[in-house]
Symmetry: D3
Subunit: 340 residues, 6 copies
């Protein structure tokens, strides 16, 4: 059976209620989220064996983060309990022309202060079949860069499939720093995941005829990008999410998978968004799930896009949907008719 | 003056706040609802004399259900207080491609365990001018099948107008069982109400050129259905609601009335839904109100569709709108401009 | 540096949570709002020096209104503490075909009972560069009519720029009464602000080829209106907001500025509304801000419309956006892409 | 069967959540309450036939007040729909040394603006057996003074029992004004209810050896007061509530009934208060219920005090307890052990 | 290492917010609870390996119950997914003289409809060291009576310690039925837990000089009870909780352990209660934890009473305290001074 | 007129609702607080001119902190906008034997990273009459130690009264480090404020016959402490708060002032606590207010203790009471009787 290990940072996520601006009133919704944690939760919720690796302080907030992942069945036994604080981020939901805002307070977090040697990858990968990380993890510190490299090597040595979501974060590092690091890590990656900006920002590979800010996406351009990533870094599969933002409430969402030299396009969904944060992570999780379950390539991309379409209709970073619900949407029922 | 009696099951309705998935957090909105109760509330709220017949346990939850109906002026004096529990249902509001979900926990409820002989229709119909029930009531138990039959006969004998919303519920009975029962009851019915699925599922009469799942509705097909119902069972009026679901947030909504051998179509509303549960019931209530008040047929269907359009913009099963508000929409003001 | 004084009534604003109908459940959101107070808050929030003049009772509710304005940095030192009550208004948010409703309980409020002589305009205008009021203030009482006239004369004498938003409120006065009063005040006004109804209702100047109720707005017609106001009353600038209501959730929103004999049109925004109350006030504030900061005319109207577009995506009367956010939208980024 | 009519003012009651100070945050709990309305609700909830007479504006807030009373089964058919506003009051719950605060905004309410001739007492008293009002009603206006007098005379003429809770409110009238009016009304009263302050403030009859502010209550003194009221005004029964306030959280609560020339003392409860507003009204309702049901005098005072003890453990003005619950406490079970 | 298996029913627990009466407003707090589930959660939270056995329907509510237990680290892999509904119970928090109320809607639940043969005790007890159940489980059905007997025999055969909390529930069975069943099960029990009522109601062994309703508890009487249970049924340890209820807010709470022929009394806590439901279960969990960790007998009872004292200061059935917190209270720090 | 400057750290304060344990559900109340900020708010709310000095990041959370202080009229114009984050702390309200918990995440905050040279004390003290800081500020960093010294010297030079609340925080520094720093600062202090632990922990001066943990406080011992502080460090006044904790809900609270060689004891309040965090700060503010207003020494200590008694009945760090309310309690009315 598949066992997926993911590695990164989980943060306390604070969001005002009722579409309010940040601190407009005195209520915050407190949940947890973070790129790789979101993937682990999604996979556990789909019924796979998923373990999450991070460092969290030995206090009530750190414990609550662990409990929140156990809720979905994630194996949290490999999480280090050390450090002084966990990262916090504030999310303000956008509306119409007003964009969603994410404000990070993640510096000095336990995971970003962890040493490279804190992670015993041999122990962590016991029984694992898949390793997933994102471009956020190595961006957090030099030590984590090293830890990602160690993890990739250990995984490779054990024949574990490696996936990476490039996930560029401009407030964590420059494109130059990202390039330098990620070009060392991507060669270990089997399944490379990127959105419309990442390939350009991280690997310097840009799609022709595309202006993301203006909502102009070119399918042909992205095919070139995927092929280029695959060729340069030897990734056997490259998956790209395509988002065009009509407004803070409405986005078009689709995906493309390049594998075995072929391109597979998903259908495109016009999503009336509830919460788009975590959308990309739910795509990654859908991809890993479908590939782990040996779906055909077209079904892989269809499952990943349907799963992440549904996530964006749900509050919070975590994708609270079942495999059956994803399959139902994949199967074509997107009319939202009531189910009794 | 008109006095309408409705008969069925009212349940405790539990819904997560803020568009959350069921039990995503620890808050549930607790209200009450049920097809025939919704009709009674709507009618009382419109100012008619409406009485509701059901059975509810002699406990605080049962009493709260009664109080919730008295709030709107419904006559609850005919409700039996017996049995051990009342039905519960959970509603999860859909969003975009994610459908609304209704999860029932209604088995063994007081009303479904009631005996046929518990209902003294002569006493209940004292002063009544109209009797309304739906296909849900006889589906609950054999005893209620019998009670519906008794009620229809008693009503007929007193010259009371009878309306029935076919309202097929697949988790209550099979189409075969529904057919067997409903074909015994519909011959007593003067005003038959159905949606795009009911006529097919319950009476085996289907609209041509229509694929409900795919959102394809044929006006011509529905005209045939209405005429067929009228002819087979002798209903003097047949009203059909037409819903096409664009997404969980946006539906098109219209209705058609067949009466006196003529067809009357309402305008179609594109509704940005707030809560669609109870939409059909508010249509039925609008129809009964307008017919009781002797509206012309075109106004009857217009009123019913406008009333139910507004219901779907309001949280909860109950239609909290006034006659003036419905008339305002009927009169053409659907632009939603602020009223000061 | 600019110092703006605004004069009017601030009320306790009570709104049901979660899109509920008024008193559908037992929770009300309690904030504050009122045309001229909204302008003061917006301006203070943009970083200008803004003072607000009104009368409020010496009790906890009156104090909370003052505190709510101090929160944004408004100078409240000129507010009179007298009278017995403050106005209250209830807002019910509309949805789809169901309009938003505003129910006022503002009669006998401290400000509406204030005497003309309670306001010492020389002291109030110390250091001021701009005076703003709306058509609501003189509509509240004869004394306030007088006070507005006193204020206009005192401002004129000091060379203070005067702006007025015509803001017709049919439950405060008749069109005849409004005409009689406003035609005495508008001649003092430098910057006249109106929406698609005000000019007609207050000044009897109507746009050709326009039917507001039906959502039909004619640009040419409004140009005539603006030119006419300017000519009749000598206003150096006339700004008009143009709203067409598609539904209670979706409005088109644009503006036009007539100044120096030229017309400047903003782009039009299709707003998926969160809360439209206070939209016009945020337009006025944007206009005053941009003019105070000596923006070019085209930028003035663009800033005012972008500011008020954003307000309508935010709950409450107050426009909680920064200058940077408005400029970002003015600059063309209306796609609502998440900002990290 | 008993049918009780009560007459007075019901207001919108706004209270901050969670023990907050008024407007400490932006949430208010919105319910309804008012002395005589509270009595009607209590009686209807106990199962008696209770009707309430007042005037309420023809708007959504007025309708919600009516619905809130119908919820409990109160007959609201005699309520006048007229006037512009309904009274509002704010309640801030006290804690420890910090007292509860009530801030009224009730001036100009529909009932206080009603004319004496608006009330047709013959129609209102059709079938009634008991009439109840409080000292608040005549304090609202001269017209209501007259209406109370009319009501007393009409009730007397029909042999209807009259009860009155003296209920002195210092912000409605002076002690002199109260004395002048109430000494005209009390002679009609059969059952006079007062608390430790009312008799002194309204009728000028004070208890010896008592200092209410200091929490010093003398049983003997109150016996004198009751006897004196009875003798002066011919009330066949006088009931007095005795509250000593230890803190905003803890009060001692007891009552005394003088009837047939005998004194009946209740036991005294040490109440850990949840919400003491409405405590006196629930005492009055308990008294009326028990007398209507022909309880023995000792049981009358025991029932009234137990009922009002329980009210003070419940949020809101209304006493949401059943007769069985009151009897349970009367019977001695005040240990608060869980009931399964 | 210790591995504890518990067996019983977990229910959806619905409680009004803010100390409200049931359905006083439209909000319910939805959590989960049940005697044996509470014990499993407490033990997992203390860091032991705890597994829970029950049956839950294959729907979203059943899954949420499982997730809620996984949150604390409970092993839920042995839970059967079958049946149609899960039990529901409503809790209304008491205040002062008004008792807390628990209203059950647990009939026909998945676990109460499960067959005796559904439970494979050999598989369930793999690796287990302790088995815990309560008197509630066999009261649910004849099949569960059988299942409990099977479990006891299987546990005995494997040398697993067995504990049972007698936990009499009068709405589940009569004292006669309880006696007949429990006297068959208790002989297998090593550690018998009872409160002041259970021994009398279930085993017919009553404490002298004790009147629970009147809050009169005799230490000597309870020593006799413990000794008698031990002698009659061969339980090596008997633990008794002693609650005296001063009011719904304040209880005295203590415990006694009889083991090895000696009596060990805890100190007595005067608890200002937050939520007393689950108090007894947290006592049982404390006892099992301390015995599993080989505490000395005096420390066992001290730990169990301190743990359950803390539980009663926390909302919900589950005891959200750490071992360190319990030890801190055991160690004497009950002054509640703030911890920074 | 008095103008008070306070200097320290304000943090985002996150507290679970409804007495829940931290993150027991997904709601947090988000307010702001911090020792010296609390003093500034209290003083501004009492009507004095109060300015607050700190550093806050240039983001939405930092701005909200500023706004929250402006709400009460605090002058925030001297606040530096720099740094990356602001401190956060979590508060969990205790109950009965379960203590309140405060969990800090304040490291690396803008103020703790500020340079000594960032503060221009000459500009800050323009017009000031009083400077207040606490032992927390110099504990945050070496730079702030220096800044406090600079501030004391500048204040001394200007003849500004200096007050300091010793406020020992064990997670910020050791007693040794505190001693070394504070013994350099206290010689500048005119008014020294301490609680029952501070003098011992910070200055090594302990009260005889006192065991704080055990709730044993000796008045005589504290008189010695006050006299000793005054003599060693030349403080003209020393004020000590005396808290004895009965439970997390009930504390005794009193204070003592030593000035002019005389001792002044306040009365002692038994407080049924709502939120004790900020109690000491409200005492300091009361003291500063009363001394600034030249109250007699006995009135100074009475005002300070009454003010801080009331604070502890209010949620949040800030003391939301008026001078009139404090005087009312000082005057003896602590019975908590409702005020209408």
């Amino acid at each position: 059976m598949s066992k997926i290990v993911t590695f990164g940072e989980i943060m306390l996520r604070l969001m005002p209620e009722d579409g309010h601006r940040l601190l407009q009133n005195d209520r915050l919704e407190a949940t947890f989220g973070g790129g790789e944690a979101n993937v682990a939760v999604s996979l556990a919720n789909f019924g796979l064996d998923a373990a999450y690796v991070t460092a969290l302080p030995q206090n009530d907030v750190g414990q609550a983060a662990i409990n929140a992942m156990r809720y979905f069945g994630v194996d949290t036994s490999k999480i280090l309990r050390q450090g002084e604080r966990m990262g916090v981020y504030f999310v303000e939901k956008g509306q119409s022309q007003r964009p969603s805002k994410v404000l990070y307070d993640r510096k000095y977090s336990a995971i970003s202060m962890a040493a490279r040697s804190d992670f015993d990858w041999d122990a962590i990968f016991e029984g694992a079949t898949w390793f997933h990380f994102t471009g956020i993890t190595p961006a957090l510190s030099d030590a984590l860069k090293g830890a990602c490299l160690d993890a990739c090597k250990a995984a490779k040595a054990r024949g574990i499939t490696i996936s990476c979501d490039l996930n560029y974060r401009k407030n964590l590092w420059s494109t130059e720093a990202a390039y330098e690091t990620m070009t060392q890590l991507v060669p270990y990656v089997d399944v490379c995941i990127a959105n419309e900006e990442d390939a350009e920002k991280v690997l310097g590979i840009s799609a022709k005829d595309t202006d993301v800010g203006a909502g102009k996406l070119s399918q042909e351009g992205y095919r070139d990008v995927a092929r280029e990533i695959s060729q340069r870094y030897g990734c056997s599969s490259v998956a790209i999410t395509l988002r065009s933002s009509i407004s803070a409430n409405d986005n078009n969402w689709a995906g493309m998978l390049y594998t075995g030299g072929e391109f597979y396009d998903s259908k495109s969904y016009n999503i009336h968004l509830w919460d788009r944060v975590g959308g990309g992570d739910s795509f990654g999780a859908g991809l890993i799930y479908a590939m782990s379950e040996n779906y055909a390539p077209q079904d892989v991309i269809n499952f990943a896009v349907a799963a992440s379409c549904l996530k964006q209709t749900i509050q919070g970073d975590f994708n609270r949907v079942s495999v059956a619900e994803v399959k139902n949407l994949m199967g074509g029922d997107g009319s939202g008719r009531v189910q009794r």
